[in-house]
C-alpha cells in the first residue's frame, strides 16, 4: 500500500536537548495510525514537524502524498491535506459552529463575508461526517464532544486527507469516546488517514491499524495493532514493566475515618452512604457527570448537602466551608490541578507550604523565611519532586511533578482523609506509577484515601474497595478480588 505520509531520518534539537533522533514514520493511505509515547517522548515535536510548525534538522526527509517536501510550512502542510486537531481543539468560542467550520473562508485578502457560502460549507462538512449540529449555535455553548465534531468538520471543510488528532479523548466520557472511535472508523471508510495520539492504550488498540511507539525521542518501532496488548505496549513505551497486584488486605476492623449517611443534594447525588476506614484506599468510579466530583465537593465543604450526615473519626461534623473541612482533617486534590489546585506562577516552594502558613507563623503572625524554606525542602525530598530550584514557578514542572506538588501541599496538613479526584488525568505511565506509589505509602501510614477516577483499571488495581456511581447513586463497595474489570465496566455503563 502506498504511504500517504512518509518521514525518514527526522531529527530535532532544541539547544542542547535532542527532542527527536532519526525517527521514521509511514502512514499508509486509508489507515488509522496511532502514535504513542510518554510525555517528553517527542510526539508533539513530531506532530509540529508534520504540520510545518517546526523544521527538522537537515538530512530528514518528508513526503506527503508522494510529494517531497524539503521546506514544509504550515501553509504547505495544510495545502497538502494535513490537518491537526489539537487537544484544546483551537476553536473560537464566540463564533457560531458554521463560522468555525468554514473559518478558512475568512483568510486571505480583504473582502465581504458571504454568510450563505459559510453555511453551505459547514452543512456540507457536517453531511460528509454524517452529523447534525446547530450551525448557528455559538461554539462556547456546545458540549465537549460536540465541539470536537465542529473541529473535525472544520478539518474536513479544509480538505483534510490526513487528520492528526492530539489526545482527542482526554476530556470525554466513555460513551463520547465510543462515539468518537466510531467516527474515526467512519472517516477511515471514506478514505481518510487518521493519526491518533493518545495516552489511553485500550482506545488505541481498539481503533488503530498500526501503532508507532516513540521513547525518549527515538523510534521504538511500528507494530500492527492486531495482537498487541496493553501490557506489551506500555512496556514498549517505557522500557519497564508495570504490573500491579490486587490489594487483598481486609481492613474492615480498622477505625472509620470518614462516614457518610444518606447524603443527598438535588440534581447531583442522592442517598449516598459509605464508610472509609483508616489506611484504606476506597475507589469511586463512574461516568463524567455521574455526581462523583459533586460528592467530593460536598465532602470538602464546598457545597452543602440537602440531607444526610458526615462524620469524621466518629464525630458528626457540619462542613459549611472548605476551611471547616480542612480543620476537620479533610484534604482535596482536585481533578483540574492546573486551575484549582496550584498557583501556577508562584514558586514550587510557596505552593508547598500554602496550606500550613499558619503553622509556620511565629509570634506576631510573621513567617520566618528559613522555616518556610525548610518545610518546602522536606516535602520535595519526601515526595521525590524533580525540581532544579524550589523557587521555579510550578507552571514549569512536568504534569506528574505538578501533581506531586499538589499532593504535598495537602499532605503538609497531615490530613486524616485525602480525597483524590482523577489524580492521574493527563500524566503518563511512569508518572502514574509514581503517584500510585505515593498514595500507597500514605495509606500505609494510616491516611484514609478516597480515590475518584473514571479509569477502571486504576481503581481496580489500586483500591481496597471500589464503589460505582451512576446518575448520582452509589453502589455498595466491592473488593477487587471479588469482581473484575469487565464487571465494573458493565456496572459503570449499565
Amino acid at each position: 500500500m502506498p504511504a500517504f505520509l512518509d518521514l525518514s531520518g527526522v531529527s530535532k534539537r532544541f539547544g542542547g536537548v535532542q527532542a527527536l533522533r532519526d525517527v521514521s514514520l509511514r502512514v499508509r493511505a486509508g489507515e488509522v495510525h496511532c502514535l504513542v509515547g510518554e510525555n517528553g517522548s517527542g510526539k508533539s515535536t513530531l506532530i509540529k514537524i508534520i504540520s510545518g510548525v517546526l523544521a527538522p534538522e537537515p538530512g530528514g526527509r518528508i513526503a506527503i502524498d508522494g510529494v517531497e517536501q524539503p521546506r514544509l510550512t504550515p501553509t504547505r502542510s495544510t495545502a497538502a491535506g494535513v490537518q491537526v486537531i489539537y487537544q484544546d481543539l483551537s476553536l473560537f468560542p464566540n463564533l457560531s459552529a458554521a463560522e468555525n467550520i468554514a473559518i478558512g473562508r475568512h483568510l486571505g485578502g480583504v473582502r465581504l463575508v458571504d454568510r450563505a457560502a459559510i453555511r453551505r460549507t459547514a452543512l456540507a462538512a457536517m453531511a460528509r461526517l454524517g452529523v447534525t449540529l446547530d450551525p448557528d449555535a455559538p461554539v462556547g455553548e456546545l458540549g465537549v464532544s460536540q465541539r470536537q465534531l465542529v473541529a473535525i468538520c472544520r478539518a474536513l471543510a479544509a480538505d483534510a486527507k490526513l487528520l492528526i488528532m492530539d489526545e482527542p479523548t482526554a476530556s470525554l466520557t466513555r460513551a463520547e469516546v465510543d462515539h468518537l472511535l466510531a467516527l474515526v472508523r467512519e472517516l477511515k471508510a471514506r478514505g481518510l488517514c487518521v493519526m491518533f495520539v493518545s495516552h489511553r492504550l485500550d482506545e488505541v488498540l481498539e481503533v488503530a491499524d498500526r501503532v508507532t511507539v516513540l521513547r525518549d525521542g527515538a523510534l521504538v518501532g511500528a507494530y500492527p495493532a492486531e495482537g498487541m496488548s496493553d501490557a506489551r505496549l506500555s512496556r514498549l513505551m517505557t522500557g519497564k514493566d508495570f504490573s500491579y497486584a490486587l490489594k487483598t488486605d481486609d481492613l474492615s476492623a480498622r477505625p472509620v475515618a470518614l462516614s457518610a449517611r444518606g447524603l443527598s443534594r438535588a440534581g447531583e447525588y442522592a442517598d449516598v452512604s459509605f464508610d472509609l476506614r483508616e489506611g484504606e484506599i476506597l475507589g469511586i468510579t463512574g461516568l463524567l457527570g455521574a455526581g462523583r466530583t459533586e460528592l467530593a465537593l460536598t465532602l470538602f465543604g464546598m457545597t452543602r448537602p440537602d440531607a444526610g450526615e458526615i462524620a469524621i473519626a466518629g464525630r458528626t461534623v457540619t462542613l459549611d466551608s472548605n476551611r471547616r473541612a480542612i480543620e476537620a482533617g479533610v484534604a482535596y486534590v482536585s481533578e483540574d490541578r492546573l486551575t484549582l489546585g496550584l498557583v501556577m506562577a508562584q514558586p514550587v516552594a510557596a505552593n508547598l507550604v500554602i496550606t500550613v502558613l499558619h503553622a509556620l507563623a511565629g509570634r506576631l503572625g510573621l513567617i520566618a523565611p528559613a522555616r518556610r524554606r525548610k518545610a518546602a525542602q522536606d516535602w520535595i525530598d519526601d515526595l521525590a519532586i524533580k525540581v532544579s530550584d524550589p523557587q521555579n514557578p510550578v507552571g514549569t514542572l512536568s504534569g506528574g511533578n505538578q501533581q506531586r506538588v499538589a499532593l504535598a501541599k495537602w499532605m503538609a496538613r497531615r490530613p486524616k482523609v485525602l480525597i483524590l479526584d482523577s489524580p492521574t488525568v493527563g500524566v503518563d505511565i511512569s508518572a502514574k506509577d509514581g503517584i500510585y506509589e505515593i498514595v500507597g505509602r500514605l495509606a500505609a501510614e494510616g491516611v484514609a484515601v478516597l480515590m475518584i477516577s473514571d479509569e477502571i483499571p486504576e481503581v481496580f488495581h489500586h483500591c481496597h474497595r471500589v464503589m460505582v456511581m451512576r446518575a448520582g447513586r452509589l453502589s455498595p463497595p466491592v473488593r477487587p478480588v471479588e469482581t473484575s474489570e469487565a464487571a465494573l465496566r458493565e456496572a459503570v455503563n449499565a
Binding site: 476553536l91 464566540n94 473559518i103 483568510l107 480583504v110 473582502r111 465581504l112
Partner: protein, 330 residues
C-alpha cells in the same frame, strides 16, 4: 412568538433597549423638554465625540485588547491638524486626512509596543496617553486655539428646514457619528477582517495556529482606533468652536463605560455594534434626563456608576441562569 421572546431575553441588547424605552417614557412624562426635536438634536450633537470613540473602542475590545490613549491621540490630532489648517489653509478633505493620519500613526505606535514587546495593551496605552498628552502640553504650553478657519467654524448643515421658527438639519457631528457606527458595523459584521478580529479576540492561540495575520490585525485595530480618534477630534472641535488641549483627556473612561455597558467583554471576542450604541444612548439619556429634571450633575456621575454595576451584575446573573438551564436540559 414565545420562541422569539426566549431568544431576545438572552440578548444583552434586549435588556438595554427595554431600559432605554422605559427611561424615555418616564422622562417624556416627567418633563416637557425631553421629547422635543431640539433636545434630540442636542443629544446627538453633544455626544458625538464620545460616540465616535465608542465606535473605535468596540473594535479594540472585540480584538481582545484595550486602549485608553485615544483621548490624547484626539487632542494631538485636533491641535496639529487645525494649527496646520490655520497656517497653510485646508479643505474638509485635507483636514480629515491630517487628523485621521495623525490618529492612525499614534495608534500604530501603540500596536508596535503591544506586538513587538508583548506588553499588555493597558500598560502601553497608559504610557502613550501620558507621552502624547505630555508632549502636546509641553509644546503648546496648553494654549487654546480660538481662531479657526471660517468654513470650519460654520460647519455643515444638510437638509436644512425650519420647524416652529428653529432651523434644523444634519450637522457635522450627526453625520460623523452616523458614519462611524456604520463603518464599524460593516467592518465587524460584513468583512472577513472583522470576523478575523472576532476570532482573534475569542481565541488568540487558535487564530495564530489557523494562520491568521495576527500582527497585521493588531496594527489595523489600533490604527482604526486612532483613525476614529482623529474623526472624533474634529467633531468635538467644530462643536466647541475652539481647540482646548486640556479638556479631552479624562473622557476615556466615559467611552469605556459606554462600551462595557453595551455588553463588550474586556476579555475579548464579545461585543456588538448595536450594544455599543445602546450603551452610549443609555448613558447619554441618563445624564441628559437628570439635568432636565433638575438633579445635580454630581448625582449624574453616581447614577452612571450605579447603572454600570447593576447592568454587569444582571448580565452575569442571567448568563449563570442560562448555563444552569442548559446543563439541566443536557
Amino acid at each position: 412568538m414565545r420562541d422569539l421572546l426566549q431568544r431576545l431575553r438572552r440578548r444583552h441588547e434586549f435588556w438595554l433597549a427595554s431600559v432605554i424605552v422605559a427611561l424615555c417614557v418616564a422622562l417624556t412624562l416627567a418633563t416637557d423638554s425631553f421629547f422635543t426635536l431640539r433636545n434630540l438634536v442636542d443629544l446627538l450633537t453633544s455626544n458625538a465625540f464620545i460616540g465616535i470613540l465608542c465606535a473605535g473602542l468596540i473594535v479594540v475590545l472585540v480584538a481582545g485588547g484595550i486602549d485608553i490613549s485615544f483621548t490624547a491621540t484626539a487632542t494631538v490630532a485636533q491641535y496639529l491638524a487645525l494649527s496646520a489648517a490655520n497656517a497653510w489653509g485646508a479643505t474638509w478633505l485635507t483636514l480629515f486626512l491630517m487628523a485621521c493620519g495623525i490618529g492612525v500613526c499614534l495608534g500604530a505606535i501603540n500596536a508596535f509596543f503591544i506586538v513587538k514587546f508583548r506588553v499588555h495593551s493597558i500598560i502601553v496605552s497608559i504610557a502613550t496617553l501620558n507621552i502624547f498628552y505630555g508632549l502636546l502640553i509641553y509644546a503648546t504650553s496648553g494654549r487654546y486655539i480660538y481662531a479657526l478657519p471660517d468654513w470650519f467654524s460654520y460647519g455643515i448643515y444638510w437638509f436644512e428646514t425650519e420647524i416652529d421658527g428653529w432651523p434644523y438639519g444634519v450637522n457635522l457631528q450627526m453625520l460623523l457619528l452616523g458614519l462611524a457606527f456604520l463603518s464599524t458595523w460593516v467592518l465587524l459584521n460584513r468583512t472577513n477582517i472583522g470576523r478575523q478580529i472576532y476570532a482573534m479576540g475569542g481565541n488568540p492561540d487558535a487564530a495564530r495556529r489557523m494562520g491568521f495575520p495576527v500582527v497585521r490585525l493588531q496594527v489595523f485595530v489600533y490604527g482604526y482606533m486612532g483613525f476614529m480618534a482623529g474623526v472624533a477630534s474634529l467633531a468635538q472641535a467644530q462643536f466647541a468652536q475652539s481647540v482646548a488641549p486640556t479638556i479631552l483627556v479624562g473622557k476615556e473612561l466615559d467611552v469605556l463605560a459606554a462600551v462595557v455597558l453595551g455588553g463588550a467583554s474586556l476579555l475579548g471576542g464579545v461585543g456588538t455594534v448595536l450594544g455599543t450604541f445602546l450603551g452610549l444612548t443609555l448613558l447619554a439619556l441618563l445624564q441628559n434626563g437628570l439635568v432636565l429634571v433638575g438633579v445635580s450633575s454630581y448625582w449624574g456621575q453616581f447614577v452612571t456608576g450605579a447603572v454600570i454595576l447593576i447592568s454587569v451584575s444582571a448580565t452575569a446573573l442571567e448568563a449563570g441562569r442560562q448555563r444552569r438551564l442548559r446543563r439541566s436540559a443536557a
